[in-house]
């Protein structure tokens, strides 16, 4: 009986997710605020339905009461997030908020299914990160001099990375971070943000050749330290982000081509220089031949995706726990195994819709610095999504990065939420700008009308006076 419910819920979840994904794109089409509001509200309903079904199924399968508590707690959390954002910042982009909550809740479901302890930790991470990220838009609005601190960003970023390279503990073949008071921190997650700010600030000032060379040198230093501490995923992300930002700032296709060339060259050199890169590539070529020596991660991931098929095995019906680091780097495989490939493809599309929204915001910003920041952070986000999903499906060699907002991990959650909040801040700034302009226009209009009215009035008064004068004369 339970099996039937699980089976049926599987289809229901897919349908709900598909409808949600469709609405992410259709929302762009609607001009009228009211229609949009309706879609956004429906998105919220869809998300809460997905949660209800997923947690219900998990409870039926495992009969653990903590699932119910967790479900209620996360409903309250999401309600609070949506409410707080809309009350504090009425001009916020609701689509992005909805997508953010959707990705987080898919992550919650999968992580809880894999490991209760991690799910609770993740819940706490998200709660704290949300509070921090709520302040970010205010900061963006108040701090007018953000664009001036070019070298502070560079200094902080490089110092953090250098610290990691020297002192960090090695985990999973890469030096990633250190533990402070029991909480492990991965500075590279935050350096992504400082890096984007640095590049944006520097290229805002000038895009002449000299400045481009200096900026490139500092950017290359970031990337090289990351390569040296074997954090390939982050190195690759910063590299691509820099290329895109440089191209957009200078409109010089030559830089793009040169950068790609240099990147390919560097990749070949790195391949021959570092053993762990060779391992990654050979695993990518044939994870089964190298099963014993490191291929098992990717092999297990492919088993999971393949076994899941279009419709998935149903929650708690597969064995995603057999994928190594399933809750972190390989969460996409775990999701596809149990919820199905259609669900997985929808998830990708939701991420893409976030990115499109970011681009939209970047396009509309007039301030060059803000524009570059929005573009850089958006690229950072989407390229990371590409690296992780491409990696776990053996489309590209696996680089060991997380799926933002979905994967387990405090640093990743906090940095991504801050990124989202910054872009929200920029969006609000633009909405404000527009509002100011509109208000100005409105004031002008009012003034004109008032003037006209005044003139009319005076004219009237004049004629009245004249009349009364005439009468008196008579």
């Amino acid at each position: 009986m339970v099996n039937i419910i699980v089976e049926f819920s599987k289809y229901l979840l897919i349908v709900l997710m598909t409808v949600y994904t469709y609405s992410c794109f259709s929302v762009f089409r609607y001009e009228y605020e009211e229609d949009r509001q309706q879609i956004l509200l429906r998105q919220n309903k869809l998300m809460f339905s997905i949660q209800l079904i997923a947690y219900g199924v998990m409870y039926l399968k495992t009969e653990k009461t903590e699932i119910i508590f967790f479900y209620l707690a996360q409903v309250i959390l999401f309600l609070a997030v949506i409410a707080l954002y809309t009350i504090l910042y009425p001009n916020v982009s609701r689509v992005v908020i909805n997508n953010m909550c959707m990705l987080l809740s898919i992550g919650f479901i999968m992580i809880l299914r894999l490991n209760t302890e991690k799910a609770i930790k993740q819940f706490i991470f998200v709660g704290i990160s949300m509070i921090i990220s709520l302040i970010v838009p205010v900061v963006i609005r108040k701090m007018k001099s953000l664009a001036e601190w070019t070298y502070i960003y560079a200094g902080v970023g490089l110092a953090a990375l250098a610290l990691v390279a020297v002192f960090a503990v090695t985990s999973g073949g890469a030096k990633l971070g250190f533990s402070v008071a029991g909480i492990s921190i991965q500075p590279s997650e935050f350096v992504k943000i400082s890096f984007v700010f640095f590049v944006a600030a520097s290229l805002r000032k000038s895009t002449d050749f000299k400045n481009v060379v200096i900026t490139t040198a500092i950017a290359a230093a970031h990337v090289l330290i990351l390569v040296a501490s074997t954090d390939l995923g982050a190195a690759l992300i910063l590299f691509v982000v820099y290329l895109i930002m440089l191209y957009v700032a200078t409109k010089q296709p030559l830089y793009l081509a040169g950068g790609m060339l240099a990147g390919s060259g560097a990749a070949v050199i790195a391949y021959h220089l570092f053993r762990h890169i060779k391992v990654r590539v050979s695993v990518w070529k044939d994870p089964f031949a190298t099963y014993e020596t490191g291929g098992f991660q990717v092999a297990q991931s492919l088993f999971a995706i393949g076994t899941g098929g279009w419709l998935g095995m149903g929650l708690c019906q597969g064995s995603p726990e057999s994928i190594p680091v399933a809750a972190e780097d390989f969460i996409f495989s775990a999701i596809v195994e149990e919820l199905g490939l259609i669900f997985g493809l929808c998830l990708i599309l939701v991420c893409v819709s976030c990115y499109i929204m970011f681009l939209n915001i970047a396009m509309q910003l007039r301030n060059r610095f803000y524009k570059l920041v929005a573009l850089g952070l958006g690229t950072c986000y989407i390229f990371q999504v590409f690296l992780t999903i491409g990696g776990v499906t053996k489309f590209i060699p696996s680089t060991g990065v997380t799926l933002p907002l979905v994967s387990y991990g405090g640093s990743s959650i906090l940095s991504t939420l801050i990124m989202f909040a910054i872009i929200q801040g920029l969006y609000i700034l633009r909405e404000d700008e527009e509002e100011i302009i509109e208000r100005k226009k409105a004031r002008q209009l009012r003034d004109e009308r008032r003037r006209e009215a005044f003139q009319k009035e005076t004219r009237k008064r004049k004629t009245k006076k004249e009349e009364s004068y005439k009468q008196r004369i008579r």
């Binding site: 009986m1 995706i305 076994t307 279009w310 893409v352 590409f386 999903i389 499906t393």
Partner: protein
């Protein structure tokens, strides 16, 4: 730009799911399907006529037992379901543990909390031919592969010594410890043997390709050939006398083929071997060993002479030789070999079917027809005359592959029946032992052909 990147990525994932995933999830490393067995009773494996080769019996207390009615006969090709799985039990694991029973029935069983029955795998194997081949090998070590040339269906695959899959779990340690006999090894797929004279098929093909006037080839055989200090004798030092290419092949004249070898362009020789799938992947659902061919431009003339007549460092599996022979029989085209003709649900309703398809053209139709002519001469006037005089015609090649220092030798035969419109392709190896020499593979091949045509 990133949107395109994602479209490509999504396209790839869909492609992966539709095309590649089935092969990948059947990997023995994947233990996922084993969780299916909580809800599905493993399906049966059948021969082409519906004979049961493997089935799961459910006792009244719900305990399950996998049984193999033919015991040792199908042990390697059907495989076993325990200790990591092997053979078709491993390759078809996913289908066997998937139930495509009528959906109403499945739902009812779900409600009753009963297990559904997994799908049946209908193989191309023929129990009669398999049993004949098994008995024909007797107590010898060796292997047999029987195929259909024009479809690629594998009709029989035997490896000796064998083991009983019904008790493989109990005897596991003993079976693995036996390095002398290595009964678990599927010699048909994974055996590595010197090809001996059957490799003359490859050398002859290369000579035909290099010499448009191959028909004018002549050689005078004195029973041995010496070049650069290396002497190659003919079998039993028989002096074959005046030979052309056809008689050199039919009589399996080593001196003549060593002579041919010395004239060959080594680069082109290696290329032809590559084309015949040496040192490369073979089409197969079962595990196999790649064949070796190691001649290079710098190889010595001694190595070249040895290689040309089938000794040297060349190593092949009986399966690979069956594939080459089937390409000769099929006008140069190798059909993709397969073992599973269809998957049905447990009541016999088809779920999916495999159809014959061309895998690769190994040689031109003209080259295949010349080789067929030579292989026919082997049976009508050469070393394979034991196979002549039957109601069916045979073309083939015998081989004796020496190994070890005391002149022990493996006995080979590859060939096909009904030369005008080839039917059975047979590849046989009988490993050497101290007691016997000579063509011990031919009687095995003959027993199989007789069973096919006379029983």
């Amino acid at each position: 730009m990133f949107v395109t990147l994602f479209l490509v990525l999504m396209g790839y994932i869909v492609y992966f799911n539709v095309v590649k995933s089935e092969k990948i999830i059947n990997s023995p490393y994947n233990t996922r399907q084993d969780t299916f067995s909580d809800r599905v009773v493993r399906g049966s494996i059948l021969d082409r006529n519906g004979e049961v080769l493997a089935k799961t019996e459910v006792a009244e207390d719900g305990s399950e037992m996998r049984t193999y009615p033919y015991g040792e006969v199908f042990a390697h090709v059907v495989g076993y379901d325990v200790n990591g799985k092997s053979g078709l039990e491993s390759a078809e694991n996913f289908d066997l543990l998937t139930s495509n029973a009528f959906f109403v029935e499945r739902i009812i069983k779900e409600f009753q909390a009963k297990k559904n029955t997994g799908d049946s795998v209908v193989t191309t194997l023929d129990a009669k031919l398999q049993t004949t081949a098994y008995h024909a090998l007797g107590d010898e070590k060796g292997a047999v592969v029987v195929m259909e040339a024009d479809t690629g269906k594998i009709l029989a695959m035997v490896s000796k010594p064998s083991f009983d899959p019904n008790s493989v779990e109990d005897n596991w340690e003993y079976l693995n410890a036996d390095n002398e006999q290595s009964p678990l090894l599927n010699r048909a797929m994974q055996g590595a043997y010197a090809p001996g004279s059957i490799f003359k098929i490859v050398t002859a093909l290369e000579y035909i390709r290099e010499q448009p006037a191959y028909g004018a080839y002549t050689y005078d055989c004195y029973g041995e050939i010496t070049y650069d200090g290396t002497t190659i004798p003919c079998f039993n030092h028989i002096a074959h006398g005046f030979q052309d290419l056809n008689t050199s092949f039919a009589n399996s004249c080593n001196s003549s083929f060593a002579n041919i070898g010395l004239s060959l362009d080594r680069k082109s020789y290696a290329k032809t071997c590559k084309q015949l799938l040496f040192n490369s992947k073979l089409p197969s659902v079962l595990d196999y060993r790649k064949s070796d061919f190691s001649l290079e431009e710098t190889s010595t003339s001694a190595e070249v002479m040895m290689t040309a007549m089938g000794q040297g460092d060349t190593q092949v599996s009986p399966y690979h030789m069956a594939l080459i022979t089937s390409a000769v029989a099929n006008g140069g085209k190798l059909m993709k070999p397969y073992l599973v003709s269809e998957v049905t649900n447990y009541t016999g309703t088809p779920v999916k079917k495999n159809k014959p398809s061309v895998y690769k053209e190994l040689m031109t139709a003209e080259e295949a027809s010349i080789l067929t002519q030579y292989m026919t001469s082997v049976v009508t006037q050469g070393t394979g005359m034991e196979l002549s005089g039957e109601s069916y015609s045979v073309a083939g090649k015998t081989g004796t592959a020496e190994y070890g220092s005391d002149g022990q030798s493996h006995s080979w035969f590859v060939g096909f029946t009904n030369v005008e419109d080839p039917e059975l392709v047979v590849s046989v190896i009988v490993e050497g032992n101290e007691m016997q020499t000579g063509g011990r593979a031919i009687p095995v091949a003959k027993a199989i052909m007789n069973a096919y045509y006379y029983e």
